[in-house]
């Protein structure tokens, strides 16, 4: 591709490619100022996406304030933590598909919780939001062996704690926003099924992979034996579904880490070396991550990330040897995921 065949870019308009999703012209890539503005625009667009989901789904679920002015108790999470498929048609009198809005007046699924079946960052350990690079720093971790079905399983207890920790951070931060915006009154609806289990915390992340009751180590995950849906719920959560419901799955190198003004998030720019989903895209992607992640990403880190639909931040952040393990199940899941709707 020669620069001469490309239309010249407007050096002041870094917003258009961020908004339209069109590739940045080659000539613009050498313009550091343009690329910085473009990265900022991409990050803002991702925040806008996430907030639109929160606003839209909260208003769709919440009617007028209950007469008492009381809000539902905090901690009641939406069932299954999944976004309703946007625009999906409900059967008469009912609401959209799995994990969708409970009856009117109740909390919407936040859509911001990682989809069930997804795994949090590899190698993280310790408190919520921690993300340790697997094998890159500290003691080496075994890469996760996969179940014969191809379903990845966490390599050990540290990873499970990390997954739960990440889910707690994501859930707490986003739930806080949701509850302010107004949970509905019919919280009793959230106490059934997956909602009850989700309300116990974030075990649904690790509980919902298919065949979880059969795989070694399933008994170690909290709440797995308590879920009423059991195998039926497991069947809904799978590597294929994670991939189908992911907005972005890429590998690359951290190019920059920029603290945002409010001090709670970093803007991460990644030089992409490989696209899993979509099949191709920009040479750089930008997203936000909470600063409480420990350790914070560093320039030069080689990572694999997964960002679900409707989210601004990745719920998979793999480094070191874990990248190969995650790459394996993602690549295996991709063909079937293409035929799935989310």
């Amino acid at each position: 591709m020669t620069v001469a065949h490309e239309k010249p870019y407007d050096p002041v308009d870094a917003l258009t490619p961020a908004v339209t999703g069109e590739p940045v012209p080659e000539a613009a890539r050498a313009d550091e100022r343009f690329m910085a503005e473009y990265a900022a625009a991409v990050a803002d667009v991702e925040v806008l996406r996430a907030q639109l989901r929160i606003v839209g789904e909260t208003l769709a679920a919440c009617g007028p304030l209950p007469p008492s002015g009381q809000l539902p108790p905090s901690g009641s999470l939406p069932p299954s933590g999944q976004l309703p498929p946007s625009g999906s048609l409900p059967p008469s009198g009912q609401l959209p598909l799995s994990g969708a809005l409970p009856p009117s007046g109740s909390l919407p699924p936040s859509g911001s919780l990682p989809p069930s079946g997804s795994r949090g960052p590899a190698g993280s350990r310790g408190p919520a939001g921690s993300r340790g690079p697997a094998g890159a720093r500290g003691p080496a971790r075994p890469s996760g062996p996969t179940h014969p079905s191809g379903t990845p399983r966490p390599p050990g207890a540290a990873r499970r704690r990390a997954v739960l920790g990440l889910a707690a951070v994501l859930g707490a931060g986003l739930l806080g926003g949701l509850f302010w915006l107004g949970a509905g009154s019919s919280t009793g609806d959230l106490d059934s099924g997956a909602g009850a289990d989700a309300a116990k915390g974030a075990p649904s992340l690790t509980d919902d992979r298919p065949g979880s009751d059969e795989r070694p180590g399933a008994e170690d995950r909290p709440g797995a034996e308590d879920r009423p849906e059991g195998a039926a719920e497991d069947a809904k959560k799978s590597p294929e579904r994670y991939v189908a419901c992911a907005r972005l799955i890429v590998e690359g190198t951290v190019q920059s880490v920029e603290p945002l003004p409010e001090g709670t998030k970093d803007r991460i720019t990644l030089d992409v070396s490989r696209y899993h989903k979509p099949a191709k895209g920009q040479k750089q992607v930008t997203f936000v991550m909470d600063v409480s992640a420990d350790p914070r990403p560093r320039t030069g880190d080689r990572v694999l990330i997964g960002i679900p639909e409707g989210q601004a931040s990745p719920d998979i952040w793999s480094t070191g040897g874990q990248r190969a393990a995650d790459r394996a199940w993602i690549e295996k899941a991709l063909p079937r995921a293409r035929g799935m709707t989310c």
């Binding site: 803002d44 806008l48 769709a60 048609l89 739930l175 806080g176 915006l181």
Partner: protein
Amino acid sequence: MRAVLSLGGVPHGELQDGVQHVRLRLLERAARGQEAPREVSAWAAVVASNWAMDYHRARRRQERLGERLAALHPAEPQEDGAESRVLSLAVAQGLDELPDSQRQVVVLRFYADLPVRDIADELGIPEGTVKSRLHAAVRVLRTRLHEGEVR
């Protein structure tokens, strides 16, 4: 679909009417022997957003999202949610400021995740018009977001 309608400013009490309208349109397509839309969710999002715009023209009234969100007060301050609350309110107020045509494309692009081409096809307008509306709308919304972040 309810979220698309809500983002279009349709009051909560009217959402079910909007949903039923979209369902009816789909049934009508089937009754006429038309093929189902290639992407049902995308088609439904467009139909819903058009219904929201028609609703406002007919009623000459639009629910202000910012007011609705601001009215949902927590019983106690939720520190953890403060940042998200500010951003959500900023986005809602920004949407309130937008003309219907810009608001519609923002919702279709960034909530329903439709590509520009699909939005143009479904709305029957040029891609350049979609891009122009998106550009103008996002400039407003970014300003609102940054105001929300800096606070």
